[in-house]
């Protein structure tokens, strides 16, 4: 990727980090444009949390460079541009919503009018104006997540780092949180989040980076990733009325395609053009004496891409 123009909001080059013999990051390079939403995927132990912690300034990388809007990461000005929302609900449960927002606003350097204005905005943005003076500890998980998110953006950061922002949250609250993130993105905030929800990554991000064993194995929009890995072919599954006695061959030639595994009642294959090729496949199976019990056509998804690139299910 060419990060030269325009100046990316975030540029990481060859980032490495080891904990003793464990190499958590083995040369990670990617960029994040202004207003872009980037989803970070990877199996457990891939290095996602280490990367987030390096970007949040909580862990020092052993090697590599990080630039924020073209400035070296370690400058105090650059640090002000980052917002961090940890996976845990990192709030003061015995303070109210307003008090939590005010505290973290102050920690981010806001004072007086700027703090007041931002506090009013945050209460409205989270939809918790009527719960402003209630203790956060009494809130539901979804409400706490909203406050957790708001405390990370009080200072209007250019880049927002979120570590699994919707874990343990009901679907309505997840929807709400992503609406909030969309609003931020629309104002130019770049968002980098880690998630285990593939549907979230597919639907809510502009670009996906897949990390595996400390290295970037894929980086791009979902369509590109699909095309580069599993391709655009559709996966077709036919369930037949009885187990196959032998593979079904498409012709008599030695190199003719064959489908199915003897002893199983499912035939799966990939085809480029469903409308043209699927009827032919069904007819072929019937001519071989088998009835069709069910037909499934699956478009390639991020799940397939992930499995193809890493060999794991996302939670492995």
């Amino acid at each position: 990727m060419n990060y030269a123009r325009p100046t990316p909001a975030l540029a990481i080059h060859d980032l490495r980090k080891s904990y003793g013999d464990l190499h958590a990051l083995k040369g990670v390079t990617f960029g994040l444009q202004r207003g872009e939403r980037l989803a970070f995927l990877g199996p457990n132990g891939a290095g996602k949390t280490t990367l987030i912690r390096c970007l949040a300034g909580l862990t020092n990388a052993d090697h590599g460079e990080i630039f924020l809007a073209g400035r070296p990461f370690k400058s105090s000005e650059a640090r002000k541009q980052i917002g961090f929302v940890p996976q845990e609900i990192a709030l003061y449960a015995d303070l109210t919503t307003r008090q939590n927002l005010e505290a973290f606003g102050r920690f981010h350097g806001l004072r007086r009018r700027a703090l007041r204005d931002r506090l009013a905005w945050a209460l409205k943005w989270t939809g918790l104006e009527d719960r402003a003076d209630d203790l956060v500890g009494a809130f539901s998980g979804g409400m706490q997540r909203r406050v957790n998110l708001a405390c990370g953006v009080m200072h209007e950061p250019r880049i927002l780092l979120l570590d699994e922002p919707t874990v343990g949250v009901d679907p309505q609250s997840r929807q709400r949180i992503f609406m909030m993130l969309d609003e931020l993105s629309a104002t130019g905030t770049s968002i980098l989040l880690t998630t285990h929800h593939l549907d979230e990554a597919e639907e809510r991000s502009d670009r996906i980076v897949i990390l595996d064993q400390g290295m970037v194995v894929a980086d791009g929009p979902i369509d590109e990733l699909v095309e580069q890995s599993v391709g655009t072919q559709r996966l077709v599954r036919l369930r037949i009325d009885r187990p196959l006695s032998a593979p079904i061959r498409a012709g008599v030639a030695e190199d003719a395609a064959s489908f199915g595994t003897p002893g199983t009642d499912e035939i799966s294959t990939r085809i480029d053009d469903v409308s043209n090729h699927l009827p032919g496949l069904i007819e072929l199976v019937r001519r071989r004496g088998y009835g069709i019990a069910d037909v499934q056509v699956e478009a390639p998804s991020l799940h397939h891409v992930f499995l193809h690139l890493t060999g794991y299910e996302l939670r492995d």
């Binding site: 940890p86 609900i89 981010h108 405390c151």
Partner: protein, 397 residues
């Protein structure tokens, strides 16, 4: 069902080593400390020697014998030599008032008889009784020896004969006369307690105050660990706040709460137990602020040393209870052996108690608090620096 609950609880305890340690080790440790203090356990620790000075205002043969006899007493420790020239009554009293000595023994003449005045610090309620008995005995024996030495040979023989046949007093008046003469000989004068409330009250107020300052400080430190565990600390360190600022903020908060806590307790002591807080406000404030700062730094140090709140709870309970026992928060240090009293000087409690005693009991000027204030301040700074060094690993995890 009940058995299952019991079973689960036991298993959870066995899996939680800190809690297991706390449950069984702390009572053993605490008991051992008290056993050493009172029982001379481990073969060490002897009856505490009482710090005294003596003034011979008579300078007679008998009084010199009494001084020599007292110097040989194992229960007494003379902070000035018995034959020190020029030690006067006023100087001796000042040594008692300043705490350098627990008692001043003044040998004087009373109706042509040898008598003794014991200038006592009433805060040590045991010393007066012990020294009185010792001085009484010394006087009686010295006078008896002198009288025997003055008898002629024939008078000595008669005396021995009388003793051999077991002669007894032939009237109660003779006995009464002997008792009366004994009572006249030794008089205890409290040079400290006049006009003051029970000294034990202010001593215990101080002891309890320091103990709870330490508990409060470790509680505050626990909050820091809790923030670390729920990633609030990570969030804080990702803001513009530095670890220095965070620790200093925690330190000032814990110290402020500690000062308020002790202040409220002493106000109560003034209202209910007549401890004169208002009259000693300057010394009280100085001691309280410095002790709170030191205790808070200690709490932060323990928090940064531990990996979890459970570890901190276990460690702090053991340390604080032991320090409080050795330092005099629970049992007056004058009841401990010299060796244990020396160990006690490694605790906040001992120094803080000494300081409060100087303020409320001895009513010394604030410059007399210099040793206590210095030790507590220095320990506070050392523990704070140590906490900062240990917190580096949280920054660069």
């Amino acid at each position: 069902m009940i058995l299952t609950v019991l079973q689960i609880s036991c298993r959870r305890l066995l899996h939680n080593r800190v809690e297991l340690l706390l449950t069984f080790l702390v009572p053993i440790a605490f008991f051992s400390v008290f056993a050493i203090i009172f029982g001379g356990g481990l073969g060490r620790g002897t009856t505490p020697r009482i710090k005294v000075v003596a003034v011979d205002e008579i300078q007679s043969v008998v009084s010199s014998q009494v001084m020599s006899a007292l110097a040989e007493q194992e229960s007494l420790r003379f902070v000035r030599e018995t034959d020190a020239d020029g030690l006067k009554r006023d100087e001796a009293m000042e040594l008692v008032r300043s705490g350098s000595a627990t008692m001043a023994i003044i040998l004087r003449e009373d109706h042509e008889q040898l008598a003794a005045e014991l200038m006592a610090d009433a805060s040590d309620q045991v010393a007066a009784q012990v020294v009185s008995a010792v001085v009484n005995r010394a006087i009686m024996l010295s006078e008896a020896e002198y009288q025997v030495s003055q008898l002629t040979d024939s008078e000595q023989d008669e005396n021995e004969h009388q003793l051999a046949v077991g002669a007894v007093a032939d009237s109660d008046s003779e006995l009464f006369g002997i008792e009366e003469s004994l009572q006249r000989k030794v008089e205890i004068i409290d040079v400290m307690g006049e006009g003051k409330a029970n000294p034990v009250v202010s001593m215990y107020a101080s002891g309890i105050a320091v103990m709870f300052l330490l508990f409060g400080a470790t509680g505050g430190g626990g909050a820091l660990l809790e923030e670390r565990e729920n990633q609030t600390l990570d969030r804080l360190l990702s803001t513009q706040m530095s670890m220095d600022q965070l620790l200093l903020g925690k330190w000032f908060y814990m110290s402020s709460i500690g000062v308020l806590q002790v202040g409220v307790m002493f106000v109560w002591a003034q209202l209910v137990f007549n401890v004169d807080l208002i009259g000693h406000l300057d010394g009280f404030l100085m001691m309280t602020v410095v002790t709170a700062l030191a205790a808070s730094a200690f709490g932060l140090f323990l928090a940064t040393l531990c990996k979890s709140r459970g570890q901190l709870n276990g460690l702090s309970v053991i340390l604080i209870l032991t320090m409080s026992a050795l330092g005099g928060s629970m049992v007056p240090r004058y009841l401990m052996s010299d060796e244990l009293q020396q160990y006690g000087l490694w605790t906040f409690n001992a120094w803080a108690l000494d300081g409060y005693t100087k303020v409320f009991w001895r009513e010394l000027p604030v410059d007399a608090l210099a040793p206590q204030l210095s030790v507590l301040l220095i320990s506070g700074v050392v523990f704070l620096l140590a906490a900062r060094l240990l917190a580096v690993r949280w920054e660069t995890d």
